[in-house]
């Protein structure tokens, strides 16, 4: 099952058909998380901590319980006891106790917005009124927000039992540093001491939110017999089910999760917040319970991406060959550990060959919401530092910024960050495409600058299940367990149609609930078109084989004498030579065979390949106001092979714009009490249409030989380069290297004045 090196002409792969779920989504019929209604359901609301760090001395729920219409009140006392236990869920594992405590604080609140208690009542208004009647006595503790302060001696400790993992010798003092991870090769210090040219700097990025427009919502129904159901939009119904069941100590099969359409996730909907709370309220009340967050709760109660501080020193010889790299960074994990430090470390070593490197990352807890994955988690922050340093090096060398990257770029066979040799990667091809693009040589206007940045992202594969079944008329049903977050129904239909050689429109795709198909890992890690796609193709191949063998029986010949093309079996010999049987004709004869033609395939592929991207950004800096405007933007990426062109381009464009927002405007701002000051879209400013130019895309196709159509994951890599691409363009426009995001007008203005 290898991708052909020279692709045969595909019929459907690489086209732009309308997505199967499209009409529902442009007419307002599609049912998203907050849209679902269960008969007889009541409404939940959550009480959240006003303090960034405090001990909960007591919670009095009597008045809330007494309010007319209130059906249930819960606190952490209603949760079953949690042991510290690692759950294998997404690509990393999470600790069950931490997840439970994010859903409901136990003993201590660790951030302003931390859930403390919950109410279910006959209306949302009553539930909110009841929440206000709950009396909580807190002993406010000193809090800490920034990582530099969190690791300073004497800092307030979030978890008294947390000792830094991964340090030698093992630490006997509790610390806010949860873990440290190092990758080293050669002797970085010695190499840097010998380097002809070195650049160095400290880079900072603030926490930013994934910013999906759909707030979290969930409807849960838990019966006295122990069986429950949930209707929820998430990046993976199976992992939501498994995690909720673990936290509630339920047998997994007792919980059925119905996936609803998801209004964006970007990593933020890979975990649970409301689900066990709604379940417990439902069991207490004996009714289905709906809980929906408002935007402020989303900002204050769900995972942003971690902020970061990174020290980078990069050295080269006089010709620009990288000789040494040293990176040390601290990731602002929020209230609980686990903030993508590993992938940050890998990012530093993913895109370039450098014989001597020492890269170390620290996972540091502090009193902000527990952070969560955000599209290539951990990578944009480190790429911001590294790709800015490379830009500085190019300036010092007087070298073209793309040429410098080309000189050092990883090629197939070079060792990857984790020592595995790189397979059929396409970073060099991306850099060459960027260099050849008219954008790279276009003239610039006054106050404008051009920046470029590259990116590596590991991608993922992992467990996926898919089923392909034929209806009696030969139309095709594809079923997967992966929520469609950006057009994946269309990609699955394309791959099935291509494999069966039938029209795209004869294939329909459904996303099954957790009781209706085998497990699939969540939609994330840029894995669905690769891994689930592979399962769909394998199932479609099985169906095609069955079709051929049944046709052979119907023709009365050997299967070798039957050829499949054009959605039909063609007889190559014997009496019926030249005759054909369509997919529908064969499907209709299921009664003469062992039944309907169906194949369900469960696989766990790990032969994915990383993604590489190069972005070019032109910006214009207003010397009077410090405002930075993006005037032209081009995103180049090795996509392996694009299955649906629009949705691949859309990933590149959407990722680039999220990165532009991160570079220019987005940031969590905390007041002196550690409360978020900007928990709304007015003050947390994400890019709008008028902020942006068109986002040009170039799809470089270096197929992954391990996927039948050559797919590489595309969703995450495009958020990795923009932070540095934007900062490098501002450096080019102003001559000023800005190392702290966001490059908001006040900061740029201050830098311009300081340079005057």
């Amino acid at each position: 099952m290898n991708a052909p090196v020279t692709p045969k002409a595909f019929k459907v792969v690489g086209t732009r058909p309308v997505r199967p779920d499209g009409v529902d989504k442009v007419t307002g019929k599609a049912i998203y998380g907050p849209d679902f209604v269960a008969p007889g359901m009541i409404h939940g609301a959550i009480l959240r901590s006003p303090h960034a760090h405090a001990k909960i001395l007591s919670i009095n729920t009597k008045k809330a319980e007494a309010l007319a219409g209130v059906k249930a009140v819960i606190t952490s006392a209603d949760f079953p006891g949690q042991e510290s236990k690692v759950l294998a869920g997404g690509e990393t594992s999470s600790n069950q106790r931490d997840i439970a405590q994010i859903c409901m604080a136990d003993g201590k609140v660790l951030y302003a917005g931390h859930a403390v208690a919950a109410v279910a009542a006959t209306s949302e208004a009553i539930a909110r009124a009841a929440v206000a009647l709950i009396e909580v006595t807190y002993e406010v503790l000193p809090h800490v927000i920034e990582v530099e302060e969190a690791i300073a001696p004497g800092a307030p400790l979030l978890h008294a039992d947390m000792y830094t993992k991964g340090v030698e010798p093992a630490s006997d003092q509790p610390s806010n540093a949860a873990m440290c991870f190092t990758l080293a090769r050669g002797d970085a210090d010695a190499a840097l001491a010998r380097a002809a040219i070195t650049v160095t700097g400290r880079y900072k990025t603030p926490p930013v939110h994934q910013g999906y427009i759909e707030p979290h919502a969930c409807v849960a129904s838990w019966n006295a017999d122990g069986q429950g159901q949930m209707w929820v939009s998430s990046q993976g119904a199976f992992d939501i089910r498994n995690t909720t069941a673990a936290v509630l100590h339920m047998p997994i099969a007792d919980l059925r999760v119905m996936p609803l359409e998801i209004g964006g996730g970007f990593g933020g909907k890979t975990t649970i917040y409301l689900e066990p709370v709604a379940m417990l309220l439902s069991r207490k009340a004996g009714r289905p319970v709906r809980i929906a967050m408002n935007r402020q709760e989303v900002f204050c109660g769900t995972g942003p991406a971690p902020g970061s501080v990174a020290d980078v020193t990069l050295g080269s010889d006089a010709d620009g060959n990288f000789v040494g790299l040293k990176v040390e960074f601290w990731s602002q994990a929020g209230a609980f550990p686990g903030s993508g430090v590993h992938s940050g470390v890998m990012t530093a070593l993913g895109a370039y060959t450098v014989a001597n490197a020492h890269v170390r990352g620290w996972d540091v807890v502090s009193n902000i919401p527990a952070t969560k994955a955000y599209r290539a988690p951990g990578a944009p922050q480190i790429a911001f530092a590294l790709e800015s340093a490379i830009d500085d090096l190019a300036v010092k060398l007087g070298m073209d910024a793309i040429d410098l990257r080309l000189k050092n770029a990883v090629r197939p066979g070079d060792p990857g960050p984790m020592r595995l040799p790189h397979g059929a990667i396409g970073y060099v091809e991306c850099l060459e495409a960027a260099k050849a693009h008219p954008h790279w040589s276009a003239p610039l206007g006054a106050n404008q600058g051009r920046g470029v940045a590259g990116a590596f992202w590991g991608n993922y594969g992992g467990p996926s299940t898919a089923a392909v079944s034929l209806s009696s008329d030969g139309s095709v049903q594809v079923t997967t367990g992966n929520p469609d977050i950006g057009g994946s129904r269309a990609s699955m239909a394309i791959m099935a149609a291509e494999t069966l050689d039938v029209p795209y429109e004869s294939v329909r795709v459904a996303i099954a609930d957790t009781a209706s198909i085998g497990y699939s890992m969540l939609t994330g890690g840029s894995r669905v078109t690769f891994a689930t796609g592979k399962a769909v193709v394998e199932a479609a191949q099985n169906v095609r084989e069955t079709l051929v063998s049944r046709a052979a029986s119907l023709f009365g010949v050997d299967t070798a004498e039957v050829e499949w093309h054009g959605g039909a079996a063609h007889c190559l010999s014997g009496e019926r030579k030249g005759e054909s049987l369509s997919i529908g004709a064969i499907a209709a004869k299921a009664g003469q065979f062992s039944g309907t033609i169906t194949s369900e395939v469960s696989i766990n592929p790990l032969d994915y390949l990383p993604g590489f991207a190069v972005h070019i950004c032109d910006s214009e800096v207003d010397p009077e106001t410090g405002h930075v405007r993006i005037v032209r933007y081009t995103a180049v990426q090795d996509v392996g092979r694009a299955i649906h062109l629009d949705y691949v381009e859309g990933q590149l464009q959407g990722g680039a714009v999220q990165g532009i927002g991160w570079a220019l405007n987005e940031a969590y701002v905390f007041d002196a009490e550690g409360r978020m000051e900007n928990p709304g879209f007015l003050d947390y400013r994400m890019p709008v249409a008028s902020d942006l130019p068109m986002i040009d895309t170039v799809l470089v196709e270096v197929p992954n030989p391990a996927h039948p159509y050559g797919v590489k994951g595309v969703g995450e890599a495009p958020i990795v380069p923009p932070l540095a691409a934007v900062a490098n363009s501002v450096r080019h426009a102003t001559g000023i290297r800005m190392r702290e995001l966001p490059l908001s007008p006040d900061k740029v203005y201050a830098a311009l004045r300081a340079a005057d």
């Binding site: 307002g28 964006g264 709304g680 709008v688 902020d691």
Partner: protein, 166 residues
């Protein structure tokens, strides 16, 4: 607290509902009327997911009080298609792949339709500024802007050919 009875028209049909004085039009549409096409992304007028038309004006229905709908005519995403025939803006969103998750899409389509009705030949920057009140986190807006421009072009052509035919 007693409820307020509101008589209005929704997508051309007479409609009546009861609401609290402080209830938003968005909640009345979504919860009371079951029209969940308009979405709540922020509840504060900053995302445009709840965009509907009220007496021909584009509004954030999360900022309109439900009682204000009295005597007005409301148009929502559910009324944009004529029966099952999609409006050109809807069709162009599909043809251009101008949605990923689709959560922002109803708001964008209502807003884009209003733009084209006001300005049949909008420039790229007119489209971008008109839609600046609608947040999309998935697409980076590129394909949305193209879809709207293309829909406007098609509608102009239809009008021209109708005129020539007449």
């Amino acid at each position: 607290m007693s409820k307020i009875a509101v008589t209005t028209s929704i997508n051309g049909d007479p409609a009546e509902f009861l609401c609290d004085a402080g209830e938003t039009l968005l909640d009345a549409l979504r919860v009371t009327m079951g029209l969940t096409g308009a979405k709540e992304g922020c509840g504060s007028g900053d995302c445009g997911a709840c965009t509907v038309m009220m007496d021909g004006e584009m509004v954030c229905s999360c900022l309109v009080l439900a009682p204000e709908a009295e005597g007005k005519s409301i148009a929502t995403i559910e009324g944009v298609a004529e029966g099952s025939v999609l409006h050109p803006v809807q069709r162009k969103f599909l043809e251009h792949g101008a949605l990923q998750c689709g959560f922002c899409t109803p708001g964008f389509i209502v807003a884009a339709k209003a733009l084209i009705e006001k300005n049949p030949d909008p420039s790229e920057s007119e489209i971008r500024y008109w839609l600046a009140g609608n947040l999309c986190r998935c697409t980076g807006y590129d394909k949305i802007v193209r879809a709207v421009a293309d829909a406007a072009a098609e509608m102009r052509q239809d009008q021209n050919s109708q005129r020539t035919a007449a």
